[in-house]
Amino acid sequence: MDILYSIFVDPFMQMGSAPDLLVQTLWEGFVGGILYALIALGFVLIFKASGVFNFAQGIMVVFAALTLVGLYEKGVPAFLALAITIGVMFVLAYAIERVVLRPLVNQPDIILFMATFGLTYLLIGLGEAIFGGNPKVMIAEQLYLPKGAIDLKILGGVVTLQKIDIAAAIIALVMIGALSLFFQYTRIGRALRAVADSHKAALSVGISLNQIWVIVWFIAGVVALITGIMWGARSDVSFALQVVALKALPVLILGGFTSVPGAIVGGLIIGIGEKIGEFYWGPLVGGATESWLAYCIALVFLMFRPQGLFGERIIERI
């Protein structure tokens, strides 16, 4: 009885008695979720357009952030460094398309998946060799990102909101809005959607797959850069971020591989779910549940919807 009580009653009592803590936990989950969603967004873009499950997205985040900070440390002005980093991401996208994707066209998914693994190793090695393996501090101030915190007095308590988190949420929303407008109303965006629907049909109406892939990998690179800046501003820029990027996998699965809104909703569910779970139920099992809770949440959802919340229905024919 005791154990049932501490599972089903106690946490809710806690939530009711200290609503400010609940709001704080929700907010932290929300911000974490936004950042997961940003990483997942990069995955979704590439998966939609080229059918590649891009494992290297996580390391692209680290690589972009490292390039930015590394350039700044070499004495390049902050915004010039930003521009150069975007250039670097373009070169990277072009090189990946040329060297990796083109020879592997039409191979099974798992081979392409493994190729992005190779890419991950390559980028880890390159990043560490060029910029060193030590954690770096993101140049948040130089990019005019806000600092400090706001204390909200609500519900008889104090909720602390970091300004950088608010900025991250706004930037993420703006970016998602911009991306959906881009997909909906521009020529390239339409071509991207066509490729996502069917490679063959897109080719037959004269869309160049190679070009589209470069563009998509480039956009994913820019998304990675923004994610890297946001995440780097909250903690240090280091290769540990790569492990965090693995969290994007359950997010992706939850939302469905091919859905941009799915990535966002999935990110929020995972982010909030794992924070709430850790804060209210974590102590029952000894804490540190964040390392696996996200995967279990995704697993439970998958049992009921195997294609994810917003994924296209999987139809199998023989």
Partner: protein, 359 residues
């Protein structure tokens, strides 16, 4: 030239369907076994055995395990590192609770515990497919890794939280623990690996293996042909985890000799084994050996080979270079031969057979 099958006539169906139908292959296999069992223990240095051969064999075993699941049944798993951990902890618990029983029995028995856990985490595989399934196995990886740290009963409430390998004897000779020589550990490991390879080979060439391959190629079609999906998939999970578990127990007891298991069985270990399977060749037992050799020996070769060639590198630079070279080689091999080293091996054999003609 010498690799010809001319004159070797098959007089029975069994001879025709043999795994090594060509006499030269059988001679080659015998030579390899002789080298492994006699030449290496006699002439190999401790360094060769401890740093090259033992890791190679442990990883080969784990790669065979994952290959059964991923290569033969088509279910991608990123939890093999954790299943190895289950094997290691099971073996540790068993040998400390029942110290009188032979350690080799416990190493093999620990595989069954890993198999049981594998079946539990394999249950979603009936509904979830492809990359979605990888998340289920990632859940296994992270949850088990967390349990290894959080459940002190598993490591006998040691203050260090690590597995401490006790000394165990086999016919009066120490097999595990600090006093066991590399040669003894190598021979025990080699015997286990060869026994399990033989079993795996028989499994995948028989009815069970064929049902796995049917499931891999298309599970709905396989179901229509009368293969029961759930037993086939769960058996694959069980056998695969069994192999991984034994590999994990071997890793702790015959290679590391104890240590912080959370480091040894983390997510990177799972990735490494998946690499081996893919680089070696999906759905190929010999490919698992090639992949294990490639991935486990390459870092050692780079670490000790480059300075020997006169390229002196400091620690961190060598580490980075290691990553870069590994990444480039993975990409290179995937682009040159997406079906793995096993396919290259087959192509090479075919070329030898028809040499000097192109076909």
């Amino acid at each position: 030239m010498f690799y010809r099958e001319a004159g070797q006539f098959k007089t029975s169906y069994a001879a025709d369907m043999a795994i090594f139908p060509i006499l030269q292959d059988r001679i080659g296999l015998a030579v390899i076994l002789a080298i492994a069992f006699i030449a290496i223990p006699l002439f190999g240095s401790n360094f060769l055995i401890q740093t090259v051969m033992i890791p190679f064999l442990v990883f080969a075993l784990a790669a065979i395990g994952l290959n059964i699941l991923t290569g033969y049944t088509g279910l991608i798993s990123l939890g093999s590192g954790a299943f190895m951990g289950v094997g290691a902890y099971a073996c540790y618990k068993l040998t400390t609770i029942f110290p009188g029983v032979n350690i080799i029995v416990w190493i093999l028995a620990s595989g069954f515990f890993a198999a049981a856990i594998g079946v539990v985490f394999g249950l979603p595989s009936l509904r979830i497919k492809g990359f979605y399934l990888t998340v289920a196995t990632l859940a296994a990886q992270f949850f088990l890794q967390w349990s290894f740290v959080r459940i002190p009963w598993l490591y006998n409430y040691n203050a260090s939280g690590a597995i401490e390998v006790p000394q165990r004897l086999l016919a009066g000779i120490p097999v595990t623990g600090a006093n066991a020589t590399p040669v003894t550990r190598y021979l025990v490991l080699l015997s286990i690996v060869i026994l399990l390879t033989w079993i795996a080979s028989n499994l995948v060439h028989g009815r069970i293996g064929r049902s796995w391959m049917a499931v891999r190629d298309m599970d709905i079609a396989a179901e229509l042909m009368g293969i029961r999906l759930l037993p086939a998939k769960l058996l694959s999970f069980a056998v695969s985890s069994f192999y991984c578990g034994v590999a994990g127990a071997c890793m702790m007891f015959l290679w590391y000799g104890g240590g912080e298991a959370n480091d040894a069985f983390n997510i990177n270990q799972s990735f490494t084994i998946l690499f081996m399977v893919i680089i070696g060749g999906l759905g190929s037992i010999i490919g698992s050996y090639f992949g294990a050799a490639f991935i486990s020996i390459l870092p050692t070769a780079l670490k000790f080979g480059l300075p020997a060639m006169g390229i002196a590198l400091s620690g961190p630079v060598a580490e980075h270079l290691n990553y870069i070279i590994l990444g480039v080689l993975i990409l290179f091999f995937l682009i040159v031969e997406p079906h793995g080293l096993a396919r290259l091996w087959q192509v090479g054999k075919q070329k030898l057979r028809v040499w000097p003609f192109p076909y």
